[in-house]
C-alpha cells in the first residue's frame, strides 16, 4: 500500500494536483482514492462529489485503468461512522446528542485531519492500493501529524480519565467528595474556563473516551504508516512565486517532526514560448507583462533546483492551464505532466 500526502499553502492548486495524481495512479491499474476537504465546485462536480455523498467512483474511459475514487473528508460523517462502529449501543444517542459533540463535529479546527487518519485506516481495511490525502492549507497542515498524538495523549492520560470517571461517578454524589490533586487542577480550570464548559467537556469525554481510546489505537497504526518512507511520500505543492519560501518552511517544519519531503510540485508555472519581436500598444504591454512574470517563474524554478535539488528526491513543474482546472479533462492534462515516484527503498 502507498500513501501520498500533499501539503501546501492556500491557492496553489493542491486539490487539483492531488486529484490528478490519483488519476495517474489509477491509470497504472491500481485502485486509488483521493481524500479531499473542500474541492472547487467544478472539480467537485467532475469527481461526482455532491453533498451527502462521502465517496464516489469516478469513471475512466480507459479499459486498462484500475479504479479512481474520490472521497470528501466530512468530519461529521466520519465521526458519526466511528460512533456507530465503536460506541456501545446504549451510549450512541447520548454521544450524538451531546452539545460538545455537536460543536466538535461542526467546527473544531484540526478535526478534519483527525478524521483523515480515521479514514485512511478504514480505506486500508477496504483494500485500496494508493491513498492520496489533500490536507488543509498550511495553517493546519501539520495537524494531521500532530493532532493524533495529542488526542491519544489526552485519551490515554490517566489523570484525565480519572477526572472523567470521577466526575461521572461524582455527579450523583456531589463534587465535594473528591479531593485528588487532579480534581484540584480541574476545579481551577473550571474557574477560568467557566464551570459549564469544563463540565460539559468532561461529561462528554466520560462517555466518549472508549471511542477516543479506540481512535488513538488506530491512529497510532496509521501514523506509523505515515512515518514509513516505504509507504508514505510527502509532497509539497507550491507556485513559482512561493516556491523558495514554501520549500524552506515545509522542509524545516517536516524535519522538526522527523519526516522528509519526497517531491516539490511547482504548479501554475507560466512557461509558454515567447515571440522574438514585440508589437506596440496593449498587445505589446500584455506580452511584456507576460514575459516578466514568466521570467520570474523560470528564475524561481532554477533557484529551487539549485538550493533544494539535493534535499528532495524530485522537483516537478506543471504549467498553468489556459482555463481554470475544469473537469476530468483538465485533471488529465495535469496527470500527463506528472511522474509517480516509487516509494523510497528503505535499507
Amino acid at each position: 500500500m502507498r500513501i501520498i500526502v500533499y501539503l501546501g499553502t492556500g491557492g496553489v492548486g493542491k486539490t487539483s494536483v492531488a486529484a490528478s495524481t490519483a488519476m495517474a495512479v489509477a491509470k497504472t491499474g491500481a485502485r486509488a482514492m483521493v481524500l479531499t476537504t473542500d474541492p472547487a465546485l467544478r472539480l467537485r462536480t467532475a469527481l461526482g462529489l455532491v453533498e451527502g455523498v462521502p465517496e464516489q467512483r469516478v469513471p475512466l474511459d480507459d479499459p486498462k485503468a484500475g479504479e479512481l475514487w474520490a472521497g470528501l473528508l466530512d468530519v461529521r460523517a466520519t465521526l458519526n461512522e466511528a460512533v456507530r462502529l465503536y460506541a456501545k449501543p446504549e451510549m450512541r444517542e447520548r454521544i450524538l446528542k451531546h452539545s460538545i459533540y455537536e460543536t466538535i463535529a461542526n467546527s473544531l479546527a484540526g478535526m478534519q485531519e483527525l478524521m483523515a487518519i480515521e479514514r485512511i485506516d478504514q480505506l486500508r481495511l477496504r483494500g485500496f492500493d494508493t491513498i492520496i490525502v489533500d490536507t488543509a492549507p498550511s495553517r493546519h497542515a501539520f495537524e494531521i501529524l500532530d493532532k493524533p498524538a495529542l488526542f491519544a495523549d489526552f485519551s490515554s492520560s490517566r489523570k484525565v480519565k480519572l477526572v472523567g470517571r470521577t466526575y461521572k461517578f461524582a455527579a450523583g454524589l456531589g463534587l465535594n467528595f473528591i479531593g485528588s490533586k487532579a480534581l484540584d487542577i480541574y476545579s481551577r480550570a473550571e474557574s477560568i474556563l467557566g464551570v459549564n464548559l469544563v463540565r460539559e467537556i468532561l461529561d462528554f469525554y466520560s462517555i466518549f473516551y472508549p471511542i477516543a481510546e479506540g481512535y488513538a489505537r488506530r491512529a497510532e497504526k496509521t501514523v506509523a504508516l505515515l512515518r514509513d518512507p516505504a509507504v508514505t511520500e510527502f509532497r509539497v505543492v507550491t507556485t513559482p512565486q512561493k516556491a523558495m519560501r514554501d520549500a524552506a518552511f515545509f522542509t524545516e517544519a517536516l524535519a522538526e517532526r522527523n519526516f522528509a519531503i519526497g517531491t516539490f510540485c511547482v504548479n501554475r508555472a507560466w512557461l509558454h514560448p515567447f515571440p522574438d519581436t514585440l508589437p506596440g500598444g496593449l498587445e505589446g504591454e500584455l506580452l511584456r507583462w507576460y514575459k516578466s512574470v514568466s521570467d520570474s517563474h523560470r528564475e524561481a524554478v532554477w533557484q529551487l533546483r539549485e538550493k533544494f535539488g539535493s534535499v528532495v528526491r524530485d522537483i516537478q513543474v506543471f504549467s498553468e492551464l489556459e482555463r481554470d482546472v475544469d473537469g476530468l479533462a483538465a485533471l488529465e492534462r495535469l496527470a500527463v505532466q506528472m511522474h509517480l515516484n516509487e516509494p523510497a527503498i528503505v535499507p
Binding site: T9, L41, V160, I192, N196, L286, Y290, K291
Partner: protein, 308 residues
C-alpha cells in the same frame, strides 16, 4: 457610527494575498504619519514566509515609527487570564503546565478563537488588559484575517459560546457577538484573484457574512489581475490573435478575457466597489512590492475611494 472602533478586516480565501495587502495598506497609512496596528492570526513562522518588513527603518523611517504588527496568540491570552486569576506565580505555572489544562484548551471547541476575538475587541475598543494597562494608541486597526473558512469559524465562536453555555462566558459571547456583528465596527475588505475557486469562496463568504452577521463587503480587492482586466473594451478589441500568434500571447489573452468575464460576474454577485491590484511586474524586494501594491489601495477606515 463610532469610527474609533472600526476594524479594517482583510479577508478571503487562503493564498490570495491577504497578508501582503494588509501590510501594504498598513505601510501606506503609516507612511502618511498615522499610527497603524496590524493584527495577524498567523503563527509567527508563517507570517515570516509571507512577506518581510526587513529594512523598513532605513527605507521608510516614518512608517517604521508608526507601524506595529501584533500577533495575538490565543495560548498566550489564556496564559494571561490564568495569571490574572491566580496572582501567585507558582500556582499559575502549575495550572498552565498541567496536562489537564493544556488538553482542555486543545479540545475545547472554539476556545482559542473565542479568546482571540475577545482580545481583538479589547484592542478595537482601546481597552487595556490587566497585564498591560495602557491602551494601545493607534489611528488605524487592520485585521489580517485567517482564510475564509477559519475566519467565519472565528466569528461564529462567540455565538457558539452564547448558544450552548450559560454564565459569564455566555454573556461575554453575547457581547462579542453583538460587537462583531455590527458593520459600524467591521469594514470588510474581501480579497480575491479573478479565479473560479477564489471567487466562489469569496461569494459564499460574503453571503455568510451578510446572513449570519449582517456584515456587508465594503470593498472587493481584485488581486494580481492582468493588464487586460483594467483595459477598456476598445483597447481589448485591438488585440487580434492570428495563426502565428505566440503561445504566450494566446495564454495571456485567454486569461485576460477570462478575468474580464469574472470581474463582470462578480459585480453582479457582490455589490461593492472593486479595486484592482495588478500582478506587479518588477519589484526588488518585499518592501518594494508592498509600497507598489499600496499605490493601488485608496482605502481609509472611513471610506473606499472609487478607482479611476
Amino acid at each position: 457610527m463610532d469610527p474609533q472602533a472600526r476594524i479594517m478586516v482583510v479577508c478571503g480565501k487562503g493564498g490570495v494575498g491577504k497578508t501582503t495587502l494588509s501590510l501594504a495598506l498598513g505601510l501606506k497609512h503609516a507612511n502618511q504619519g498615522k499610527r497603524v496596528v496590524i493584527v495577524s492570526s498567523h503563527p509567527v513562522p508563517e507570517l515570516a514566509i509571507a512577506v518581510s518588513l526587513e529594512g523598513i527603518a532605513t527605507r521608510f523611517p516614518e512608517a517604521a515609527r508608526n507601524l506595529f504588527v501584533v500577533h495575538l496568540d490565543p495560548r498566550e491570552l489564556l496564559q494571561e487570564i490564568v495569571e490574572q486569576n491566580f496572582p501567585v506565580q507558582m500556582v499559575a505555572q502549575a495550572i498552565l503546565n498541567s496536562s489537564i489544562f493544556k488538553n482542555l484548551i486543545e479540545v475545547a471547541p472554539g476556545l482559542k478563537e473565542f479568546y482571540f476575538l475577545a482580545r481583538l475587541q479589547m484592542l478595537a475598543e482601546r481597552k487595556g488588559t490587566a497585564a498591560r494597562t495602557t491602551s494601545p494608541d493607534y489611528d488605524v486597526l487592520i485585521w489580517d484575517a485567517p482564510a475564509s473558512g477559519h475566519f467565519l469559524a472565528t466569528l461564529r465562536s462567540a455565538r457558539a459560546f452564547e448558544k450552548f453555555l450559560t454564565g459569564p462566558l455566555a454573556s461575554a459571547g453575547r457581547e462579542m457577538n453583538r460587537f462583531f456583528s455590527n458593520s459600524a465596527h467591521m469594514q470588510i475588505l474581501a480579497v480575491t484573484p479573478l479565479e473560479e475557486m477564489a471567487i466562489a469562496e469569496t461569494t459564499e463568504m460574503s453571503e455568510s457574512l451578510d446572513r449570519e452577521f449582517h456584515l456587508h463587503c465594503n470593498a472587493l480587492i481584485l488581486n494580481m489581475v492582468s493588464p487586460l482586466a483594467t483595459a477598456t473594451e476598445h483597447e481589448v478589441k485591438q488585440i487580434k490573435l492570428r495563426e502565428d500568434s505566440s503561445p504566450a500571447l494566446r495564454f495571456a489573452v485567454d486569461r485576460g478575457e477570462l478575468e474580464r468575464d469574472r470581474k463582470a460576474e462578480l459585480s453582479v454577485a457582490i455589490t461593492a466597489p472593486q479595486i484592482c491590484v495588478p500582478r506587479i511586474r518588477e519589484w526588488g524586494g518585499d518592501l518594494d512590492l508592498l509600497s507598489k501594491v499600496g499605490e493601488w489601495l485608496d482605502i481609509t477606515s472611513g471610506e473606499v475611494m472609487a478607482q479611476a
